[in-house]
Amino acid sequence: MSAVKTNGNGGAPPALTKADFQSDQETRWCPGCGDYAVLSAVQQFMPELDIPPERIVFITGIGCAGRFAYYMNTYGLHGIHGRAPALATGLASTRPDLSIWVVSGDGDALSIGGNHLIHALRRNVPLKILLFNNQVYGLTKGQASPTSGIGMVTKSTPFGVSDHPFNPVALALGAEATFVARTIDRDRRHVTEVLRRAARHDGAALVEIYQNCPVFNDGAFSALTEKDVKDQNQIRLEHGKPIRFGAEDERGVARAPDGHLAIVDVADVGEDALIVHDSHRMDPGLAFSLARLADDPTEPTPIGIFREVQRPVFGRTGPARTQTASDEQLEELLLSGDTWTVT
């Protein structure tokens, strides 16, 4: 455990650094795992929050991603498989003073934990949920996950996956999420930008992170990460800007006559025809259509913030309830209703 900076001797505590968020535990992911990059980006980003480490909590599920909690020098709760959002909801609703982060995998969040995830989103629990999507079960050594692509051969699907995968962004939007974003392990700047906005969001923020698992599903996102192709496949969403992409911004997203979104050559349709991204819209229709633009991250795929809107936050309605009643109030309660006295 690193030294306690906030426990100083009077003066303003020195600014926090990445090192303040690194725990003393040895990281135990496979060499080359995308989890390292995300961990490093998160640790690097944390000081920006300007919240002392003791007021930050990481709650994780089970899976490779679930180990995340051990590496952060914050409070950490490594829960059981799929239940991190439930644990976090209990904490968030009773400790509004904390900054609570959930880290989960595609199996943890979308298979066994699917129900808790959609309910945390609909309730708008103030949690930052990082969903490490490697499209496979890492920790249990390589089974299919709900995001594995059709045909993928895994230990549990020797003849190839036949179930249609979830699109986590679309699912979250269907579940009433107020903040939904997607980013990529390898792009630290983008990860950091998305984290920054998620942290600032007052409510539940779901961040899908495409994460490479070199052992069981290497290269699943190479279309978006490899130098030679990434420009032509990353559609970066920026609020208020027309949606353009390609090495020379030569392509874009426009609405076809039938109402569909379609990928177009800007030269063909003209810049004005492009959709201007609007993540602040209450109506999630556009965000949903953008999410469905790519079935699979092997083609042009939007990344960035799909939706970012305000809605009442879970746990903030009614009295604050961070304090218990007094003995007097208790006495009054105990004696409420019809009473009689025997002497």
Binding site: V4, Y70, Y75, A86, G90, G318, P319
Partner: protein, 610 residues
């Protein structure tokens, strides 16, 4: 007409009618008047399983039983002395529980052909002689109520129809000399905003009373004198649900920990969720979770944050919570899990009572995951049990399972309200920010083998815990064989070392038989033993409220009697535990009928062994 007055030591009255007949209300009002009079009492409602069964059918019968006496009362009673039956279905579905010679008061008007058919009667039981073994009073309550209400302006005939429960209440109030003011006052309060309805109800009540006083049908009035063996104090009636809610709130106040109840609705545990949801002003937060797994997780998450995390459910919901409870065992965090047992297996009979989750509470999780289990034995006792569950959870940093049941949850009795300053303060003893530079050891232990509760927000104590096996002391993940064995032993020793009070035995001189119950059967056991004693049998009773660990003297007590009878509403679960632990050949009396144990059954079992 002058009537005879007879004294009775104790009486059991059951009000039964269609769900729409207001029997719960009549029963509750009778109860309040009885409490005001100073009788000891116990009550038990019995709702239909359906939400709204068709009116007049057997499925739609709703009943309320009250047992009151001039001495201490232990149960809501077995067989009613008086049955009030507002329709044929109510008569039919309750008759089997009456002893011959009991009194039946029927609303004669309701015995129409249509109603008889709905109740599957071929012939009118009032006329075919089938009730000849009972004292039957036929009162045209509908007609008499209508007549009483007739004069009231603005009272509709619907109001009159609805007021017949108050007529019945009036009759019974006269019959047992209950004070009328209590009820009259209540009517005024309740219907104050609607004077016509208030007046109609009052008229019906008074008409019932006058009917009793004047009719020749009823020639004896009974007197049940106030109980005198009652401890001084301020009393109110509570059922187990209310008592649990109050106990949790009291523990929250006395520990200074805001309470989170996370729960998923399920009969009968939902009532606790409803009850606590009303108390937001007391630092209480309730969450209706998406399912029982989430509910347990939320309670545990709150516990991690230094709050009082509680989750409540019934049988099927317990199955779902076990994995999270196991996590709480590994995390060694305080948490209270309430199981209001109902009749199983599977969906079973959701509105009926049973005690069949004991072995699950002890062993329902994979791996070695010991935890304390406690069970209140009376409705009022639910307060103390809830309070104690919180104390144990906090002192020992452990999930605690509290086993209530449908019977306790819904049965009411007078409860002496504790004085707040008598309730012990509960010290959460959070770990303090350490300044000595030593790394924080989240799995170090105190004298109770409890580990530090270091909550987020405490500078310098950042740490990470989870369900993987942890190194003794540091809490770091460990796969080391000897460490796992040590941790397994430590977790077991911590629970085994919890201090619980010794069993108290109430033994007659020369008693050779011990009757040993647990949970909600205490009243029945003690009442049954009392009756056996009155019949001249020597017997001993004791009652277990701590199921894990067991009271320290349990083995000794068991071995000091020739025979031990363990009555349970299951197939012998406590018996199995006692046999394994103490190698004593205890005998089981098992009742698995979805109904509470009856004093008469205990009496019979005792006498069979005398």
């Amino acid at each position: 007409m002058s009537k005879t007055i007879e004294e009775r030591e104790r009486v059991i009255v059951r009000f039964a009618g269609d769900s729409g007949d207001g029997m719960q209300l009549a029963g509750s009002r009778f109860t309040d008047a009885t409490a005001a009079l100073g009788n000891d009492l116990a009550t038990l409602p019995n709702f239909p399983a359906e939400i709204r069964a068709p009116a007049g059918t057997l499925a739609g019968v709703s009943a309320f039983q009250i047992h009151f006496a001039s001495r201490d009362i232990l149960t809501p009673g077995d067989a009613p002395n008086v049955l009030v039956a507002m329709n044929p279905a109510a008569l039919k579905s309750n008759l089997a529980e009456l002893d011959r010679g009991a009194t039946i008061i029927v609303n004669e008007d309701a015995f129409s052909k249509r109603n008889l058919e709905k109740a599957d009667y071929d012939a009118n039981p009032l006329e075919d002689g089938s009730l000849s073994g009972y004292r039957v009073h036929r009162i045209p309550m509908t007609t008499l109520t209508a007549r009483a209400v007739e004069g009231i302006e603005e009272a509709s005939s619907r109001d009159a129809g609805r007021a017949k429960n108050l007529f019945a209440l009036g009759v019974l109030s006269w019959l047992y000399g209950r004070p009328t003011e209590v009820t009259q006052h209540w009517i005024e309060q309740k219907f104050g905003r609607n004077p016509a309805v208030a007046e109609a109800n009052l008229a019906a009540f008074n008409a019932g009373w006058s009917f009793g006083e004047t009719t020749e049908l009823l020639d004896v009035q009974y007197r049940v004198n106030p109980a005198t063996d009652v401890a001084a104090g301020t009393y109110r009636t509570v059922n187990g649900t209310t008592a649990l809610a109050l106990g949790l709130i009291a523990a929250s106040v006395r520990s200074g920990l805001p309470l989170l109840l996370a729960s998923y609705p399920i009969t009968p545990a939902s009532e606790l969720l409803h009850e606590l949801s009303r108390h937001a002003g007391f630092g209480v937060r309730t969450i209706q979770a998406e399912d029982e797994i989430a509910a347990a997780g939320m309670a545990l998450g709150a516990a991690f944050g230094g709050r009082l995390g509680v989750t409540a459910t019934s049988g099927p919901g317990m199955d779902l919570k076990e994995e999270t409870i196991g996590l709480a065992v590994a995390l060694e965090l305080p948490m209270v899990v309430i199981d209001v047992q109902r009749a199983g297996p599977s969906t079973g009979m959701p509105t009926k009572t049973e005690q069949s989750d004991l072995l699950m509470a002890l062993h329902g999780r994979h791996g070695e995951s010991p935890l304390p289990v406690i069970a209140p034995s009376t409705s009022g006792g639910c307060f103390a049990a809830a309070f104690e569950a919180v104390q144990l959870a906090i002192r020992y940093r452990t999930p605690v399972i509290l086993l209530s049941d449908t019977f306790l949850a819904s049965s009411s009795e007078p409860w002496r309200v504790p004085v707040v300053s008598d309730l012990p303060a509960i010290d959460p003893a959070f770990a303090r920010a350490g300044g000595n530079g030593e790394p924080f050891q989240p799995y170090s232990r105190d004298d109770h083998l409890a580990r530090p509760w270091a909550i987020p927000g405490t500078p310098g104590l950042q740490h990470r815990i989870g369900g993987l096996e942890k190194t003794d002391g540091s809490g770091n993940i460990s796969y080391e064989p000897a460490n796992h064995e040590r941790m397994t032993e430590l977790r077991a020793a911590k629970v085994a070392g919890i201090e619980v009070p010794p069993l108290e035995v109430e033994a007659d001189a020369g008693a050779e038989l011990l009757v040993l119950g647990w949970g909600s059967s205490e009243g029945a056991v003690r009442a049954g033993a009392r009756r056996a004693r009155l019949n001249g049998h020597a017997v001993a009773c004791a009652h277990i409220r701590h199921l894990n660990p067991l009271p320290p003297n349990t083995g000794e007590v068991l071995r000091s009697f020739d025979r031990v009878l363990v009555p349970e509403m299951n197939s012998g679960q406590l018996a199995q535990i006692l046999r394994a632990k103490y190698l004593v050949d205890v005998e089981s009396f098992c009742k698995v009928q979805g109904r509470p144990l009856f004093a008469a059954e205990i009496e019979r079992e005792i006498e069979a062994r005398a």
